[in-house]
């Protein structure tokens, strides 16, 4: 097989330029997933009456459908519905002027929220109720026990799984192409399509993802060893 190295040399920098878009998609969606994941996890953990049922319905829908389908619904169906709604209410906003990246944030965080929430809930479940009681016994309010004692430990226990959620999310960002957001995979497709050099352009994408995810893994393991010092003991003696 003939590999066009010149094409790689020329394309790689162009694709690398799209890394910020990939990272932006990842970071924003991940932060949204963490915030809502934490809230949902806590609501489910506390078994709050109506809310936890509603959250479970949401989770089954998201977990039970392919992300491609979710994207289709969010990107193609929702705007039409909103357009009709805006027309009916006489709101003069053109829904098609919205930057598609917002749809991408929404679609990606929808799925990531489910995984993050389950990871955090598992973290919460791993905390003995004695930790709660100990906090209450020294005069802390429930909220303070939660923030000073329970959540820090729950997040530490959930951290490895949350790391996986992040890595999955990085890879899912390539689906943003469906919403006409050009990140690295999309850029590679475009470049490869121009001269029918898909193999080379995907090779570039392969290399970039490998490096990106390795970097995330390294950062994760550094953070993990920092935050779990209390479990493993410190090396200073």
């Amino acid at each position: 097989m003939y590999i066009d190295f010149d094409f790689i040399k020329n394309s790689l920098p162009i694709i690398v330029h799209k890394i910020p878009i990939t990272l932006l998609l990842t970071v924003v969606s991940f932060v949204i997933a963490l915030v809502f994941g934490t809230i949902f996890a806590y609501v489910n953990y506390k078994k709050v009456k109506v809310a936890s049922k509603a959250i479970r319905v949401y989770m089954s829908i998201i977990r039970g459908t392919p992300i491609i389908l979710q994207i289709y619904v969010i990107y193609n169906v929702t705007p039409k519905l909103l357009e009709g709604l805006f027309d009916a209410l006489g709101i003069g906003v053109n829904i098609y002027n919205i930057d598609p990246i917002w749809y991408a944030f929404f679609a990606l965080s929808l799925a990531a929220t489910v995984s993050a929430s389950e990871a955090i809930r598992a973290g919460l479940l791993s905390i003995d109720k004695g930790q709660f009681e100990a906090g209450l016994s020294v005069g802390l309010s429930e909220r303070k026990v939660l923030f000073d004692v329970v959540f820090p430990q729950a997040f530490t226990n959930a951290f490895p799984v949350l790391g996986n959620v992040l890595v999955d999310l990085i890879k899912s960002t390539s689906l943003a192409f469906m919403m006409s957001v050009v990140e690295i995979t999309a850029q590679a497709k475009i470049l490869g399509g121009e001269v029918l050099r898909y193999f080379e352009s995907y090779l570039c994408v392969f290399i970039i993802y490998i490096f990106l995810i390795k970097a995330v893994e390294i950062i994760n393991s550094i953070i993990e060893s920092r935050i779990s010092t209390y479990k493993l003991g410190t090396a200073h003696r």
Binding site: D128, G130, Q131, E133, A134, G135, L136, S137, V138, G139, L140, S141, E142, K144, D148, V149, P152, Q153, T156, T229, Y230, K231, L232, G233, T234
Partner: protein, 250 residues
């Protein structure tokens, strides 16, 4: 100073407490004895509002409330004045020994950080652990953890400290150091209510003894009364199992 009245508690159909009442005066060391399943631990947990009692009242100094349906804020008010020592220590795993003691002082009692640091160091010094300030619970022995648990409960100078079988999760050779610590507190006039299986310790340290069986107080009195002249047959039987060689006068 502490007045407990008519505490009832059931778990489903299982009636664990069937009307328990007792008083504690300042400086008292009350030992609650009884075989497993007699409701001792549940009683203590009801008084700390960890379990919701079905009926009963508690008075502590100026504070008083019905145990049933007590609001969170009322529970918190009481807990500001009571310390609790757990059977399995329950130190905050993510905090060092020093921070375990400081957390309650700072965030539970509004002591400023500098003062809290000072008080926490003093409390840990009292239990003989000044050299373990920045150790995490996972790096300490059971006996050390429980001594920190005691320091944590003592640090904010509560009116009374509840101890729920403080030595029963410990290896036999570590029991001594914890009992020694508790004994020191007793000598310093700290009011305590201790659920324990250490009968001879109760005999030596307690000023007042309560014997419980099947959810009721069978007998209560001074240490001397209970150990030397128990009035109830059930108390006698219970004690004779533990103090086979103890020569009591009937």
């Amino acid at each position: 100073m502490l007045k407990v009245e008519n505490v009832h508690k059931s778990f489903g159909k299982n009636q664990v407490l069937k009307g328990v009442s007792f008083d504690v005066e300042k400086g008292d060391v009350v030992a609650i004895l009884g075989s497993s399943g007699s409701g001792k631990t549940t009683l203590l947990r009801c008084l700390e509002f960890f379990e919701k009692a079905d009926d009963g009242r508690i008075e502590l100094g100026e504070l008083k409330t019905d145990l049933k349906g007590a609001h969170k804020s009322v529970a918190n008010q009481f807990r500001q004045h009571t310390g609790f020592v757990f059977q399995n220590y329950n130190l905050f795993n993510n905090k060092t020994a020093l921070d375990n003691v400081k957390l309650g002082l700072i965030k539970g009692h509004g002591v400023d950080k500098k003062k809290a640091d000072e008080l926490a160091r003093k409390a840990l010094d009292k239990v003989g652990l000044s050299d373990r300030l920045d150790y995490y619970p996972s790096e300490l022995s059971g006996g050390q953890q429980q001594r920190i648990g005691i320091a944590r409960a003592v640090a904010f100078e509560p009116d009374v400290i509840f101890m729920d079988e403080p030595t029963s999760a410990l290896d036999p050779e570590l029991v001594g150091e914890v009992l020694e610590t508790i004994k020191k507190l007793a000598e310093n006039g700290i009011t305590m209510v201790i659920v324990t299986h250490e009968i001879s310790f109760a005999r030596d340290v307690a000023t007042k003894v309560i014997y419980m069986d099947e959810g009721v107080i069978v007998e209560q009195g001074t240490s001397l009364e209970i150990f030397s002249r128990p009035k109830q047959e059930r108390t006698r039987q219970f004690l004779s199992r533990f103090l086979a060689d103890y020569d009591y006068v009937i």
